[in-house]
Amino acid sequence: MKGAHLGEFEELVLLAVQHLGDDAYGVSVKHVLERETTRDVSIGAVYASLDRLDQKGLVRSEMTPGAAVRGGRSRRSFVVSPDGLRALREMRRVRDRLWSSAPAGAVKGRS
């Protein structure tokens, strides 16, 4: 993906999808994010990000059969695409580089 740009929330959503493996869909992504960030995440925001990631080609989605708890309704499951993995790795590399080159005091001061 050339010039893929990830917003902060999009990056978190993409990571959550990666973390969830085969079980990534709207509700599970919302739960992971709420658990890990300890803040309220609206389901609408999750959908919006997943749609954007899908359009950017960073995730792929398919409809899978639903469980009883959903009234048997099918669900849209997401997996991270190869482009998405590449984008995540690229993000991480950028961050690691910046972290390793940051002076210790500045890091402490910001935390």
């Binding site: 740009h5 708890v69 959903r70 009234g71």
Partner: protein, 897 residues
């Protein structure tokens, strides 16, 4: 998504959360919000598609719309004023459109209405001796059109038919006495050939419709009820099917109910007949059947074209057989006459004209829109369009004045790089949002308002109406939004950014002044209309009808429908007149074949004994049959001679009374008393004139009194009669006593047309009243809007010229002079508007001439009163700002400079 929402619900439920619903709504809101926000997002480089919506600026549109919402919310008072005016303007238009749509654009409620053809005849017709028609037929190229044919012609046409799947005949039967569940009432009926429902492709909603098998004399008599009648008479009880009821003393079995939307095919918007029955039972429910009368034309025809067949094909197929059958009918009648009858002048002078068949589309029903409704629609569309114009002018003015307040915002946006087109679009979006909201309110106003229109009550509100309102709203929004938007965005940046800059004020005032002149002119036009219609109504109400219309109660009875023979009918009427006269509060009672000014007419040719030549003395004499007490009850003075007495009986010499007009026309310069007249040349001495009555209006209040002749009901057979009851005070007080008196004599007799003479007269003025109300209401509203506009404009001008006025006063101008200056400016505008208004009123006057009564469209009193009203209200609106100007303190004003 719905699965996810269900899952979230379940998870929250198991974790014991209480606010499940609220959480669900929050989820839904967040999803909707996220979806809506997306188009407005900065375009991502990863979305290279360039969609059509992007080019058209759809993302901006959403943005504009949200911005417009915020702007409108910020000024709720402004928005409220605009919305109320728009709702009234668009509402009035949509009400009228709904009604007119029902009249003009709808089609009859049967499957494939376009295939229906109505079969009529046009041109002079000597093949008919008695005929009925039940609605309005628009003339065909100047020729009189008749909608009915005889039963024999119907049979001939049906036999000759090759172009239609079938042809059905039907005729309304005005009054039926229905007795069911121990209760008598009066119902309307329709007799139709057995193929009626099959031809129209209408099925029953309950039970079944009747068929050809039911339309035979040896079949069990059956009847189909209309849905409204079934609902109100039998409370929608489905078990009425197979119940036997009595219709004019004939036992008939209810077999089905027609669907609610089916109102028959006579005309759109009509009331369905309560009962529909096969034609074969005509003789059973009437005293005189016309089935075997070849020269009696009374049946309406409706056919259904075969696929691929045109109206012209049907015409070509049936014209020949129609003419032949019409001629055969007259020939059969003449052949049946005795030698003596054949010598009668009426039979000797018979013409030979045969009308032509006239086939046309029956999609809108048998009958045409009558001229009164068309005229009402026309006059009201003028008023509602003017109201909308005024509303547009007013809202445009409001927007202009607000634009001044937004000048700085606009300037900043322009200087930040916004294009003018972009800003115009933004401002137009606001206008369209306002007009859209106004349109939505307008639909509601229109829905309620259509009931006020004489032909709008049952008009459907369907997609036609919504499309009309949507289109109208867009047009309105552009009409009032475009000019202000263009004006507002034409800004000299450098100037207007400065505090107090007023670069656009000059042009704004010019445009605003123009709009104000238009408003004043249009309000004056409406007020002149209101004045003309109000005075017409007043003139009509004060017409001397020739009798005393107050404290008169009227109702009708049709005992012969219940099998009363002539003797019983006469006895019944005598007994009722006696009993009614003894009710406390009743002065006298009488019977008459028809009440005066009721809308009914009966006229005849009259010959006079000794009248030169074999020409009738009066070709169009209006006739009435009344009981002896009639003149006393109606308070019609007998000028000379005598009235009818109880000595005028079936066996005594026949006597008549005539009115002054008839006396003048029949016997100019001679005393008519003792002269003899008759209804045919041979019979011209049958009736002796014994008295002359004062002139009274007969049917129309507007027309001159027609020559009228009264004969005595005791000297002939009495059919259905109307009762007139003169009361000492308000007739409504005794109405219960009158009803119970009739019930005591025969409880199975329903009373019809129960009303008072005053109400009946008032009903005749319904159209005039409607015009007067509509024009007064909207004229007043228009004047109010115009004056608010004038007040706003002058206040604005005064505040703008504060310093100028201050200088004038500092230089010695008196307060009075300042007031005069401001007033003069206002009156220049109002004067210009009034001049335009007066000119257009005079020009439009000839259009309303036919509706006016007792005054000319250029009636100076009306014109001057309307003008005076406008000037008076305008003076008040202009005085307030003028006074404020005169109170300017020169020192304060100069310091401001």
């Amino acid at each position: 998504v719905s699965g996810d929402l269900l899952e979230l619900w379940a998870i929250r439920q198991t974790s014991g959360r209480r606010d499940l619903r609220r959480a669900l709504w929050r989820d839904i809101a967040s999803i909707v919000g996220a979806r809506l926000r997306r188009p407005a997002m900065a375009p991502s480089p990863h979305e290279p598609r360039v969609s059509a919506s992007r080019i058209l600026g759809v993302p901006h549109m959403w943005h504009d719309l949200r911005y417009a919402c915020r702007v409108i919310r910020r000024q709720p008072a402004f928005a409220a004023v605009v919305l109320v005016s728009l709702a009234l303007g668009i509402g009035a238009n949509s009400a009228l459109f709904t009604a007119v749509n029902g009249l003009l654009l709808e089609k009859v409620a049967v499957p494939d209405p376009d295939a229906l053809v109505r079969v009529k005849s046009a041109g002079p017709n000597d093949m008919v001796r008695s005929s009925s028609d039940y609605g309005f037929n628009a003339p065909d190229a100047g020729r009189r059109v008749r909608s009915t044919v005889s039963f024999a012609i119907f049979q001939a046409l049906r036999a000759a038919n090759q172009t239609m799947t079938d042809l059905t005949a039907f005729a309304p039967r005005g009054g039926l006495n229905v007795f069911a569940d121990g209760q008598a009432d009066f119902a309307t009926g329709l007799e139709a050939s057995g193929n009626y429902f099959h031809t129209l492709e209408v099925n029953a909603s309950h039970g079944r419709v009747f068929t050809e098998d039911d339309d035979r004399l040896d079949a069990t008599p059956v009847v189909v009820l209309s849905d409204p009648y079934w609902q109100h008479r039998f409370h929608g009880d489905p078990s009425v099917i197979h119940r036997v009821i009595s219709v004019n003393n004939q036992r008939m079995t209810i077999v089905g109910i027609t669907p609610p939307e089916f109102v028959g095919v006579q005309q759109l918007n009509g009331q369905p007949p309560d009962l529909t029955m096969p034609l074969a039972f005509d003789a059973a429910v009437t005293t005189q059947t016309r089935m075997n009368e070849p020269t009696s034309w009374w049946l309406l025809l409706m056919g259904r074209r075969k696929p691929g067949v045109t109206v012209e094909h049907v015409q070509g197929n049936l014209d020949g057989p129609f003419r032949a059958a019409a001629r055969a009918g007259m020939a059969a009648y003449t052949a049946g006459l005795s030698a003596a009858d054949r010598q009668l002048s009426s039979n000797r002078q018979r013409g030979t004209a045969v009308p032509a068949l006239s086939v046309s589309s029956g999609a809108r029903g048998t009958y045409d829109l009558n001229t009164t409704s068309a005229q009402s629609a026309e006059f009201l569309s003028v008023v509602v369009s003017i109201v909308l114009l005024i509303v547009c002018a007013n809202v445009a003015n409001l927007l202009l004045s607000r634009a001044t307040a937004r000048q700085r915002e606009i300037s900043i946006r322009l200087s930040m790089g916004a294009t003018r087109a972009r800003l115009v679009r933004q401002l137009l979006t606001e206008s369209l949002l306002l007009s859209g909201l106004g349109g939505a309110c307008g639909v509601v106003v229109g829905y309620w308002g259509r009931a006020l229109l004489p032909f709008g009550q049952s008009a459907p509100v369907n997609w036609h109406v919504f499309a009309f309102v949507a289109g109208l709203s867009v047009l309105t929004g552009i009409a009032f939004g475009l000019l202000p938007a263009l004006r507002t965005t034409r800004v000299d940046l450098a100037d207007s950014m400065k505090e107090g800059g007023r670069s656009v004020t000059g042009t704004r005032s010019l445009l605003a002044k123009g709009l104000l002149i238009v408003q004043v002119a249009l309000s004056l036009l409406l007020l002149v209309g209101a004045g003309l219609f109000l005075r017409t109504l007043d003139n009509l109400r004060h017409v001397d009808v020739g009798f005393n219309p107050t404290n008169l109660l009227e109702f009708g009875l049709r005992p012969q429908l219940n099998g009363y023979d002539a003797t019983r009918v006469a006895n019944l009427y005598d007994e009722l007149v006696d009993r009614l006269s003894t009710i406390p509060g009743v002065r006298s009672a009488a019977t008459t074949q028809m009440t005066l000014t009721s809308g009914g007419e009966s006229s005849s040719t009259v010959w006079a004994e000794g009248h030169p030549g074999d020409k009738p003395a009066e070709p169009d004499m209006f006739v009435m049959t009344v009981s002896p007490e009639f003149f006393k009850t109606m308070e019609i003075p007998i000028l000379t001679g005598r009235g009818f007495t109880n000595h005028d009986t079936l066996t005594s010499p026949k006597v008549v009374l005539i009115n002054e007009t008839a006396a003048r026309r029949l016997f100019p310069g001679d005393n008519p008393l003792g002269h003899h007249v008759g209804f045919s040349l041979e019979d011209n001495a049958a009736l002796e004139i014994v008295g002359i009555l004062r002139d009274t209006k007969y049917n129309s209040i507007r027309d001159a009194v027609p020559p009228t002749m009264y004969s005595c009901s005791r000297q002939g057979s009495q059919g259905s009669m109307q009762f007139v009851v003169r009361t000492a005070a308000d007739p409504n007080i005794v109405s219960d006593a009158v009803r119970s008196t009739v019930r005591q004599v025969d409880s199975t007799l329903p009373l019809t047309n129960f009303t008072t003479q005053a109400d009946q007269l008032e009903k005749r003025f319904a159209q005039e009243r409607l015009f007067a109300t509509a024009y007064s209401l909207f004229g007043g509203l228009a004047l109010l809007l115009a004056c608010i506009g004038l007040f706003g404009l002058m206040s604005y001008n005064v505040s703008r010229r504060t310093s100028e006025i201050g200088i004038r006063m500092a230089l010695g101008a008196k307060r009075g002079a300042v007031v005069r200056m401001v007033l003069a400016e206002s009156f220049l505008l109002v004067g210009l508007g009034s001049a335009c208004g007066l000119a257009s009123s005079v020009a439009a006057g000839r259009l309303v001439k036919a509706v006016l009564f007792g005054l000319a469209p250029t009636d100076p009193v009306t014109l001057m009163s309307a003008l005076a009203l406008v000037l008076l209200v305008a003076a008040f609106a202009a005085y307030l700002p003028a006074r404020r100007a005169s109170l300017v303190d020169p020192m304060v004003a100069l310091r401001q400079q």
